[in-house]
């Protein structure tokens, strides 16, 4: 494929291959597949960020064949940038206003704080502040989460910060098919999307069936496991610990329903309220810090709209430590989920 980007709108409608067979892909490869399909379909889709030329710092810009996407799309569309977070994000805003659909890579969410003005004051506010004159179809990929021994500045999960900002969509996929499907929907949304992938999920394998049928709608939760005694709501990597906890609870005779929110904003209130209304108990679990976390928003909403009893489980309000013994204090494991669920059931 030529590296030149043409402006002709006719070229936007590249023909897709018919629905392919199901593939076994990692969480990272699933996103790369969605991005490369979007780049095939629309020449205005570009990606920019640090180290993209060698496939991204986590290999998330490499295809399933292991080759960096830049080899296919050229350095003008898979853009290696300087370490300039403010301008990576700010240039993304300018690109979006001038007709491109940028995917902005921020390396880790912690570094995105260097681009907070560009994300919160510029990308998120643009459409409203200028009275709808323009839109910012930008996807900002902000890898989140504890990543073994990465300490305080490479381990944070900020979904609650961005959920607080009108104008931003916030997504946190837990599985390879959802990473594929949600990235497609994020790219198609036309709004600025904060797309938060978990750094300890990159190698997680899953089944992905390429095609529009697997484009996961934004704002739609996924019921991972049906149950009748308690509703466990979670997202991102924590979904897996919660699912394990639900299995252990089942062994103790407790039927737990597990809901993966997938989109943090706009979140699927309907699915959560329906489930909590049925089970009468809601426990929200997230890896990020419990205090002022998004779990508080979910729990409060359920408490306001139903008679369900609610509880939250998140990390203590401490920076993530380097030594394993310290890091473990910040992690939420299945044991803690089981214990919190049993406490709630006894209330």
């Amino acid at each position: 494929m030529s590296s030149a980007v043409a402006s002709t709108p006719e070229q936007k409608s590249a023909v897709h291959a018919p629905a392919a067979a199901t593939l076994t892909l990692s969480y990272a490869q699933a996103a790369a597949l969605a991005l490369s399909e979007a780049m095939d379909a629309d020449r205005n889709v570009v990606a920019l960020g640090e180290d993209l030329g060698r496939g991204g710092v986590f290999g998330q810009y490499r295809g399933a064949d292991g080759r960096p996407l830049v080899e296919r799309f050229g350095p003008q569309r898979v853009i290696d940038t300087p370490i300039s977070e403010s301008t990576i994000m700010g240039a993304g805003v300018g690109m979006a206003l001038a007709g491109l659909r940028p995917v902005v890579e921020l390396r880790v969410a912690d570094f995105a704080l260097c681009a907070i003005d560009e994300l919160v004051n510029q990308a998120a506010k643009n459409r409203f502040m200028f009275g709808g004159q323009g839109r910012v179809p930008l996807v900002a990929r902000l890898p989140i989460g504890i990543w073994t021994a990465s300490a305080a500045q490479h381990s944070q999960s900020f979904e609650a910060w961005f959920a607080h900002v009108p104008g931003l969509v916030v997504v946190a996929p837990a599985t390879p098919p959802d990473n594929y499907g949600l990235l497609h929907s994020a790219l198609a949304s036309g709004d600025p999307v904060v797309f938060m992938e978990h750094k300890e999920l990159w190698s997680l394998q899953g089944q992905v069936t390429p095609g529009a049928a697997q484009h996961v709608p934004l704002g739609k939760a996924h019921c991972v496991r049906a149950g009748s005694d308690i509703t466990l709501v979670s997202w991102s990597k924590q979904v897996h610990a919660v699912t394990e906890a639900a299995e252990r609870l089942a062994a103790q005779g407790v039927s737990a329903e597990v809901i993966d929110l997938r989109t943090i904003w706009p979140w699927d209130q309907q699915a959560v309220l329906e489930s909590a209304g049925r089970t009468g108990r809601l426990l929200v679990v997230h890896e990020s810090i419990q205090a002022a976390g998004f779990g508080g928003e979910v729990a409060a909403t359920v408490a306001e709209h139903s008679s369900a009893r609610v509880a939250r489980l998140g990390a203590p309000r401490i920076p993530v430590g380097y030594a394993q013994s310290l890091e473990n204090v910040a992690r939420i494991g299945a044991d803690q989920v089981v214990a919190a669920a049993l406490r709630l059931l006894q209330r």
Binding site: A4, V5, A6, S7, N44, V46, Q76, R77, T81, P82, S84, S86, T87, M89, G90, A91, G92, V93, G94, M95, A96, L97, A98, G99, L100, P102, D117, E118, N121, Q122, N126, R127, F128, M129, F130, G131, G132, Q133, G134, P166, G167, L168, V169, S189, G190, D191, P192, V193, L218, G219, W265, P266, Q269
Partner: protein, 336 residues
């Protein structure tokens, strides 16, 4: 058109706009610890109003060489840039008055004035924020192969924020079609810039350190600004890569319209007023035998702005429901 009379027209339209906005902003506002006079009529233009009075030659001289397809980002002091880029004064004034018929439907006001239809991508409430956006726009223009450039106005205060360095570096490494215009009014809000800024001719020197050619110009000499901008813009259109124009000017008013700027030495202000770009252009026109034409242009500008004010006063305010519109399509109508 960039003959002196048309440059003069742009400048007096800006001046008339700023003067009218300034008048409409007096009254029921509080700023700098001062309370509004208890008997004051509520101001028609509320909130911070940053006037470019005295700096008109920079906007006029640069924008004379731009087309509607060229993209522009501006600062919190952006009325002049917006008018010079081709926006309609009535829709601008409506925006300042917070009316539904304003460019931003009353959602942005003075600090976010914009007319995307003429390539004016917005004033900005955050110092330096326009630079990364402008280089991104220039990047898109280059990748899409469009016959257009981006221009970015910023103040002397902006060069002390990190995104200034990032954006200039970015523009240079990707060789983007962008003109950076430092509108150097020598003051950062209410503090003189010189003691806050390392180096001399700092905007130019910092650009040159990145290999970006910088051109200093008397920003109160509209012909000089226009000539310098013409050359730089022609070069950028021909593929020179980024350039910087460093225009030295003076802000006649305070940081905001109700700031009397008593922190400045009256002698400095008096001296600066002698270099007023509009007076200089008018004298030059008179010397060229165009005094009558200049007077006519001035009268037209004042009539235009008076009509804009009248229209803004009569225009409807936005419906409260509009507060929920233009935010995001995703999830819209589900919950706010």
């Amino acid at each position: 058109m960039n003959d002196l009379l048309s440059l003069y027209r742009t400048m007096v339209r800006i001046r008339a706009f700023e003067d009218a906005a300034e008048r409409a902003s007096q009254g029921g506002v509080q700023i700098w610890g001062q309370s509004a006079a208890p008997d004051a009529e509520p101001a028609l233009v509320k909130g911070p109003l940053h006037l470019s009075t005295g700096q008109e030659a920079v906007a006029a001289g640069v924008c004379a060489h731009l087309h509607a397809r060229d993209l522009l980002t501006s600062t919190h002091r952006g009325h002049g840039h917006t008018l010079a880029k081709g926006a309609d004064s009535t829709r601008m004034m409506c925006e300042l008055f917070g009316r539904a018929t304003g460019y931003n439907k009353g959602k942005g006001g003075s600090m976010h004035i914009a007319d995307f239809s003429v390539g004016m991508l917005g004033a900005n409430g955050v110092v330096t924020a326009g630079l990364p956006i402008a280089v991104g726009a220039a990047h898109a223009l280059k990748l899409r192969g469009e016959d257009a450039i981006a221009v970015c106005f910023f103040g002397d205060g902006a060069i002390n924020r990190g995104p200034f360095l990032e954006a200039l570096n970015w523009a240079q490494i990707y060789q983007l079609p962008v003109l950076f215009v430092c509108e150097d009014n020598q003051i950062s809000a209410t503090t003189r810039s010189a003691p806050m800024t390392a180096g001399t001719q700092a905007a130019s020197a910092r650009a040159q350190a990145l290999g970006i050619a910088a051109t200093p110009v008397d920003g109160n000499d509209v012909l000089a600004v226009s000539a310098a901008a013409a050359e730089l813009i022609a070069g950028i259109r021909a593929g020179s890569g980024p350039r910087l124009l460093h225009a030295l000017t003076y802000r006649h008013k305070g940081h905001v319209s109700v700031d009397p700027a008593h922190y400045r030495d009256p002698a400095e202000v008096a001296a600066a007023l002698l270099t007023d770009p509009i007076t200089r252009a008018r004298e030059l026109l008179a010397a060229r035998g165009q005094a009558e034409a200049a007077a006519q242009v001035l009268a037209q500008a004042q009539a235009e702005i008076a009509a804009a004010v009248a229209a803004a006063k009569a225009a409807p305010v936005p419906l409260a429901e509009e507060a929920y519109q233009d935010i995001a399509t995703t999830g819209q109508g589900v919950w706010a």
